[in-house]
Amino acid sequence: MSTRLIIRGGRLLCPATGLDLRGNVVVMGSSIALITAESVAALEGDLIIDATDCIVCPGFVDLHAHFCEPGEEHKEDLESGGRAAVRGGFTSVVTGSQTTPSVDSRAVVEHLVRRSAAVSACRVLPMGALTRAREGRRLSEMYDLRDGGAVCLGDGDLSVSDPALLRRAMQYARSVGLPVFEHPEDLSLAAHGVMHEGGVSTRLGLVGSPAVAEEIVVLRDLALCAETGVRLHLGPVSALGAVEAIRRAKADGLPVTCAVTAAHLHFTDDLIAAAYGPNLRSRPPFRSSLHRDALRRAVAEGTIDAITSGHRPQSAVEKDVEFDLAEPGLIGLQTALGQTLQLVDLGHLTLIDALARLVVGPNVVLGRRPGRLAAGEVADLVIFDPNVRQRVEVDAEGSRARNTPLLGQVLPGRVRCTLVNGRRVFETQDLDGASA
């Protein structure tokens, strides 16, 4: 008989079922054996995790992260990315198709599936490219990508610019049964923009990328979604007009979802004015508080289905340069929970809704049944203390990259333990499972 793991005394929160119970979770093997408010007597050989003061909930699912493998392993790889994920409470991560070579063939997908099973602490769910080499010219072999293990189809941080090709890709993808992920940005309007176009870009003399560069792609994609009936996912979104259009489309019954990064729910363009900090260069850019506040409202009301890490590692080579030469992106797997809990602290979001955006929403986007706290479910779990505040520091055990403007800042919440498939893949040092 396999070892039992008893998670004791936590607040059990399940956003999918609404369960909110102080009690115990018993894990046997790879699945949850029991959820109960009653005390569970420990038998010899049982492992105990004391979850007093902690929340126990299904593991988070991230829709937008880059593990940079293959091709840019100096920034991150499947192993370091996986470590960062589970240290942030994420048990499953959709990795973007923008690797080198890109994830446009079954061989690459299968490589990712095989290698991540061997080295990644989290589950890696590869995005397959919608077009070959992500060039937006020819369709990729979507059935084969799916059969190799791709969970969605998209060109990573690119939108397909040719509407005729995108229409055919959507028609084809619909029969494949996978959602189409679009990064909504018109490259002609975004042009050489390195930050949000507005008063701050004017003052700083940096070329702006206007909100309409995102909004125009969202409107086009929604029209094609309505026509083709494909499940469309837009993200990350950053503009007020984009979420308003998506809200209307959802009201009209379109099969559309969208996501925002935790960072976009906080950062605004005026932060760049302090010192032209390259870690604040992001795609999509951090916009004005008008847009940021609209994103917060949209997350609260559910127009935005998922909060993602937007994890995009860069090394000093890409970041210790002039702002407009810096590669965009910031890491986020280990700060997404903290930034989300910050919204709860600020009163923008209830705790249960916050967890829903990290657990339920992403699964809905992928067309999967959300993880639940119930007997028989796979034991992908996160245990975190929402009341501990901790300083963001370079974590030698986590992500290989350090490109985040949050270094040195204090965020609420601390992950104590993460379980994937019943296995403790991360635990803080002061919480060693004591043998009974």
Binding site: A191, H192, E197, G198, G199, S201, T202, R203, L204, G205, L206, V207, G208, A275, Y276, D320, V321, E322, F323, D324, L325
Partner: protein, 309 residues
């Protein structure tokens, strides 16, 4: 810190007192250039590096003369000769220079915010000699000084700035400086050349040349920088000259004693007609002369001289 480094990265954070201090300092340096021996020992033993990674003749020579007239040792590194063209990053170039212990690095670079990047990593004082489309602080100061010398004041004057405001660092430095010193600043250009929310810098924006020039005390024309435009912002030079250029007829709408300024180099016949550029109201060459005094003041200030921090 006993002696904090002084930089001049931008004019935006300076208040009127600090701006006037620099202008007064510049005025006090002005007569040095009129003497037979044009040199004072104020910066003797100090090293000023002129790191000009973008083509510039006028600003670089002006800074070089300013440093030399203060007796500083100067080292001039320009785009063509620098290792930046060999793939070295700005930061590595600057760190190499720093190993030679310069006191001041004067930087001209085509990327906005690059002086800020250096100031975060380098020990020397950093003087911004123009960064991308952000600021050109010494140009803003010398324009203010030139206006003050001719009009005896800046407060209450109407100053029209006409041209490609969106891509102009000169416009930004002038708007914040003149606004803070009490002038009424109006910027003018086709809508494609007016960046969003430019009013937040302290000016009014219009695409009507008459509205801008009417009763102006100063009309400042900006160079049409074809080399910096990545897209088409107006149809033809001909239409631009007709709608936004400054010729004699347009200048007649300004006050009779209005000053005509231009940061140079000028495109004759595009943004300014030759008879206006060379006319009696033009003070374009005074701007050049004042550039040296202003840069002497800025170098002296950053080296720790003068009363104010």
């Amino acid at each position: 810190m006993s002696n904090p480094r002084r930089h001049l990265l931008e004019l935006a954070p300076l208040d009127a007192t600090e701006l006037l201090h620099l202008l007064d300092l510049a005025e006090s340096f002005q007569d040095i250039s009129q003497r037979r021996i044009k040199k004072v020992p104020a910066l003797r033993g100090m090293t000023v590096v002129l790191l000009f990674l973008e083509a510039s003749t006028r600003t670089r020579t002006s800074f070089e003369l300013a440093a030399k007239r203060l007796s500083a040792d100067t080292l001039s590194i320009t785009g063509g000769t620098s290792s930046v063209v060999k793939g070295e990053t700005l930061l590595d170039t600057a760190r190499n220079l720093e190993a030679m212990s310069p006191d001041i690095i004067v930087l001209r670079h085509r990327h906005s915010g690059s002086p800020h990047l250096l100031s975060r990593h380098i020990d020397a004082s950093i003087v911004n000699a123009g960064d991308g489309g952000h600021e050109h602080p010494t140009q803003g100061l010398l324009d203010a000084l030139t206006i003050r010398q001719h009009k005896r004041r800046i407060e209450g004057l109407k100053v029209a700035i006409i041209g490609d405001i969106a891509h102009s660092r000169v416009a930004r430095s002038n708007i914040v400086c003149l606004n803070r010193l009490g002038a009424e600043v109006v910027v003018c250009g086709p809508p494609t050349m007016l960046p969003p929310d430019i009013e937040s810098l302290g000016c009014r924006a219009t695409s009507d040349r008459a509205d801008a020039v009417q009763d102006a005390d100063v009309v400042m024309m900006l160079r049409i920088q074809k080399e910096r435009m990545t897209e088409e912002l107006f149809p033809t030079d001909r239409e631009y000259a007709m709608r936004f250029g400054l010729d004699r007829a347009a200048l007649r709408m300004a006050k009779p004693d209005a000053l005509v300024m231009h940061p140079g180099p000028i495109n004759r016949g595009v943004e300014i007609s030759p008879e206006v550029a060379d006319g009696p109201q033009s003070i374009i060459l005074d701007q050049v002369a004042n550039g040296i005094a202003v840069r002497m003041a800025v170098l002296f200030h950053c080296a720790g001289g003068g009363a104010q921090a």
